[in-house]
């Protein structure tokens, strides 16, 4: 089939001919050069440079150390940083691997047709940037700047977002909303009038009871939370974990509720029932701060633990006991809102139920519950006003998902299809720091959209699958080699952190701020980039904040005094919430007004057909989705994912530990690669589990290629959350294929 955009494998012709940079060889220690360098390094570190981590989005601040040859040797946490308290997680410690990864993108690449075959040809920066600017200018002139969209995750998005807004488009989406946290923040918003945010303001440090629902802290290595959970264990806090899998957190919990998957909402409603009908709720708090209690009480009248038992398979006595435990600890209790919550399509309603539980327990704004986070507003470096876009993502999703507070990535993908109405069609994509094929589960739509857009530029440090669809690939240097925007985090104490380079960019890679500025200047938007170097921006911003680049280079992190008041509600304090009623809405008027259930209603979800098992996916502490799958240090810890199978199921299928199988879904999709079987009592018999982010189909990722299975490709069924457009991904089922399937050419 002839397509406009063939998937190009960044191949030997493109890169192999280039000499390795001086810095890339010695990492494979054991070479004498490494030993020599190591001996020198041991003699004393030569430099220490502040940074904040880009390996996940907890963004811990740390220090990058270099030896006397200027080589990066290690990264440690910044003791003054509330995200990490001086201790990075394995990914942050292994961040050096992102720098030394010899598979990194080395030079700009341009798609060219040579003898009828599309190939990537290495190019200089001027040629690549000229081409990108020319194409963007042309598309903007013909169809308006709004027809250009940005998909991003992490720091590069800041710089390209600025560029896009300067051009006159606001079509900017991050999969972290519709593929991850969106339902939670929407559910919270309609209840408390505010989202949860990141880092979550959970006061785990001082809690007496922590309830985790499908949240596997410890496996999702969100550093500050893991640290505080360990402290909570030390202090003897009660942990309650709801998970069909015996997660690490479950193993540390006093109560583990091995729930039947997809029934969490029934459990939550039963807990609400117990709190209300056993009169265990926080009466003062509910009277002072909430709206709709009587409506809620009537709503949950019949949602008893006995009712929930038939749905969740959890003993009514256990449901009652755990509700009482929460009430005993209240208000120092946290029913954790979770983070990746796009599961079954009713996710906003499920997180709503979690929000309601917290309101009944009085934990929002209480010590040991949720604190009021505060951040510092970093002033924008002076630039002309952004032009007002003629249309934006809000117009695309206003009718469909009125309560989605951020752009829904899948809506922007759909708007990129050819059949989209001309005046609202996305024609060009800038993709920065997100590997869409392993992120967005709507594979067909995504594939079609990537064919239909007229131009695509991808910015990344690694040759991720998404680069294969680009017209131009721009190689970004890693976070250890660049300045970036200041990290301003909402926390107990407002604080900022600096990222500065510890070494010159390796190969021909460049920081995103530089690329955005270069493109801006080529597009006649130089006034938006009115500085020579990004340090000019940082210096100006830091001066506005009463500090300086020099000071920040020494401290890395700076804390500011709170100005918004105490961390928690004061006794008897009145407070107006940002909702229609000014109260915490147990009955959500915003949902009622937009035609959704104002209070959560449990609806059953599809169950696996005979011979199939629900595909549950999650995180491993040493990896961040697919981003780290090629990192030499982190693949050394874990180089593939396993499929967890209950021993009873394994017996049925005659599976053995360590055997490789393919997985197949009811729609006939077979995993591109085999996955190793792990037979374990830690998983229910109706489900299988795997860590997300493996099964890369991109040969240029030499360590990650073909290792394990890619859960995203097995997700043929996506249940869209009607409230905010999230893509529910836990409604997929798989079975085992034990014989080797017919070999096929793999594309991502």
């Amino acid at each position: 089939m002839s397509t406009r955009r063939d998937f190009i494998k960044i191949a030997a012709t493109g890169l192999g001919g280039l000499a390795l940079g001086a810095g890339s060889v010695a990492w494979f220690r054991g070479t004498s050069r490494w030993a020599e360098t190591a001996a020198k390094a041991a003699a004393g570190f030569q430099g220490r440079f502040p940074t904040y981590c880009e390996i996940c989005f907890w963004s811990c601040a740390g220090w990058t150390y270099t030896d006397e040859e200027g080589r990066i040797t290690r990264i440690t946490g910044n003791a003054g940083d509330p995200h990490c308290n001086g201790r990075l997680c394995p990914r942050g410690t292994g961040g050096v691997g992102a720098y030394y990864d010899e598979d990194r993108l080395r030079t700009p690449l341009i798609r060219k047709e040579i003898n009828g075959k599309q190939e990537f040809v290495p190019a200089g920066w001027d040629e690549a940037l000229d081409l990108v600017a020319e194409r963007l200018k042309e598309i903007s002139r013909k169809h308006g700047p709004e027809s250009i969209a940005l998909f991003n995750h992490g720091s590069p998005g800041d710089h390209f977002g600025h560029l896009l807004k300067a051009m006159g488009s606001n079509n900017i989406a991050a999969p972290s909303f519709a593929q991850c946290r969106g339902p939670r923040d929407t559910g919270w918003y309609v209840t408390f009038g505010t989202g949860v945010g990141s880092p979550e303001p959970t006061d785990i440090r001082d809690t007496r009871c922590l309830v985790l629902i499908g949240s596997h802290i410890g496996e999702n290595m969100h550093n500050g939370q893991v640290q505080e959970m360990a402290d909570a264990i030390d202090r003897g806090a009660t942990l309650i974990t709801v998970d069909p899998r015996f997660s690490t957190a479950a193993s540390k919990s006093r109560f583990w509720l091995p729930i039947k998957p997809s029934t969490d909402l029934a459990l939550l409603m039963a807990w609400i029932h117990v709190l209300i009908y056993e009169e265990l709720y926080n009466r003062d708090y509910v009277e002072r701060y909430t709206y709709g209690f009587d409506l809620l009480k009537e709503h949950v009248r019949n949602m008893t633990p006995e009712w929930a038992y038939g749905i969740t398979t959890l003993q009514p006595a256990l449901i009652r006991e755990t509700a009482r435990q929460m009430a005993d600890a209240a208000p120092s209790v946290i029913v954790h809102p979770g983070r990746h919550v796009t599961w079954y399509g009713d996710d906003t309603q499920r997180t709503r139920a979690i929000a309601i539980l917290n309101a009944l327990l009085g934990s929002w704004g209480s010590r040991g519950g949720f604190y009021f986070a505060e951040s510092v507003q970093v002033p924008d470096y002076p630039h002309p006003e952004y032009p007002t876009p003629a249309w934006s993502w809000q117009d695309l999703q206003r009718e469909k998902y009125p309560l989605a507070g951020l752009a829904v990535s899948n809506v922007l993908v759909e708007a990129s299809l050819k059949e989209t109405e001309e005046s609202r069609r996305i024609r060009a994509w800038i993709v920065a720091g997100t590997n869409l094929p392993l992120t967005i589960p709507l594979k067909k739509t995504l594939q079609q959209a990537m064919q239909d857009v007229e131009f695509m530029v991808v910015v990344d440090t690694m040759p991720m699958e998404i680069t294969g669809y680009a017209d131009v690939v721009l190689p970004e240097c890693t976070y250890l080699e660049r300045y970036d925007t200041l990290r301003s985090s909402a926390h107990r104490e407002p604080n900022i952190a600096l990222r500065m380079p510890a070494a010159e960019p390796m190969y021909d890679s460049k920081p995103s701020w530089w690329m955005a500025k270069q493109l801006g200047e080529r597009l006649g938007l130089g006034s938006y980039f009115n500085y020579k170097d990004y340090t000019d921006v940082l210096e100006w911003q830091l001066q506005q904040l009463g500090t300086s680049l020099e000071e920040m280079k020494k401290t890395g992190v700076k804390k500011f005094p709170r100005t918004s008041g105490p961390l928690y509600f004061q006794k008897g304090e009145n407070y107006t919430f940002n909702t229609n009623t000014g109260k915490i809405e147990l009955y959500a008027t915003e949902l009622a007004a937009t035609g959704y259930d104002p209070m959560p209603v449990y609806t059953p979800h599809e169950e696996p057909p005979p011979g199939y098992y629900r595909l549950i996916y999650g995180r491993a502490p040493m990896h961040t989705f697919s981003r780290t799958a090629n990192n030499p240090n982190l693949t050394d810890l874990m180089d593939q994912n396993d499929v967890w199978v209950n021993p009873r199921v394994a017996r049925l299928w005659g599976l053995e530990n360590g055997q490789y199988v393919h997985l197949k879904n009811p729609e006939g999709i077979v995993s591109s690669f085999p996955i190793r079987v792990r037979i374990t009592e830690r998983i229910r018999w109706d489900s299988v589990y795997m860590v997300h982010g493996f099964g890369h189909s991109w040969k240029k990722l030499s360590r990650a290629y073909g290792k394990g299975a890619n859960d995203t490709e097995l997700m043929s069924k996506v249940t869209i959350d009607p409230v905010m457009g999230g893509t529910g991904m836990r409604g997929n089922f798989v079975t085992f294929v034990t014989e080797e399937p017919v070999a096929k050419e793999v594309e991502s």
Binding site: W27, F28, R29, G30, W34, A35, A38, A41, A42, T73, R74, I75, T76, G77, C84, R87, L88, C89, P90, T93, G94, V96, G218, E219, M221, N223, V226, Q227, M229, A230, D231, I233, D234, F246, T248, A249, S251, K252, W256, P258, P621, M622, P632, N633, L634, D636, L637, M638, N646, T680, E681, R682, I683, R684, W685
Partner: protein, 177 residues
């Protein structure tokens, strides 16, 4: 002085940060490690338990690796730390065979390598890199001869076990259970 380490299995989440931190601290080649994480699962769903342990050289009081070393490369220094002098080691591997904990590996440069409790940090008054990095603070380190040290305190307060006590090696890495 008697250095020892205690690791709280109730807090450890098995993230392997100790492993990466050790690798970058001690220039352990990729593909090798001086410390590692094990997980043992017992019981039947849903009555399951797991124990996660960060393991390494036990710096035994009665160290078979030191006794069997033909060149004296394996030796014990002050504080009971078992060390290997790389340029005295002939790489014969007798110590690897004798260790009941499989704590040693052959370095690609021809000598045997293992955990040193980050001896280079201890002599400067520091603590091992794994202890310093652990996000859950589940590792305690110090001098067992000092009753006030954090390791003495925690061992006095908590129930603990050691690995393979039947081997008679008197290991000095303790696991809080």
């Amino acid at each position: 002085m008697r250095y020892a380490m205690a690791i709280d299995t109730k807090k450890c989440v098995g993230c392997s940060d100790c492993v990466v931190a050790c690798q970058t601290e001690n220039n352990v080649p990729i593909g090798y490690c001086r410390d590692w994480v094990t997980e043992s699962v017992t019981g039947t769903y849903p009555l399951v338990e797991i124990e996660i342990r960060s393991e390494r050289c036990n710096h035994c009081d009665n160290a078979p690796c030191v006794r069997c070393c033909p060149t004296g490369a394996s030796h014990i220094v002050e504080g009971g730390v078992v060390m290997v002098t790389h340029n005295k080691c002939i790489g014969c591997g007798a110590c690897i065979q004798s260790c009941p904990y499989d704590a040693r590996y052959s370095h690609p440069e021809g000598y045997v390598d293992k955990c040193t409790f980050c001896h280079h940090r201890l002599v400067e008054g520091g603590r091992p890199a794994c202890v310093e990095v652990c996000p859950t603070r589940c590792m305690y380190f110090g001098d067992l001869d000092q009753p006030q040290s954090e390791v003495s305190q925690i061992l006095a307060r908590r129930k603990w076990k050691v690995l393979a006590p039947e081997a008679g090696t008197r290991p000095q890495v303790y696991f809080l259970v």
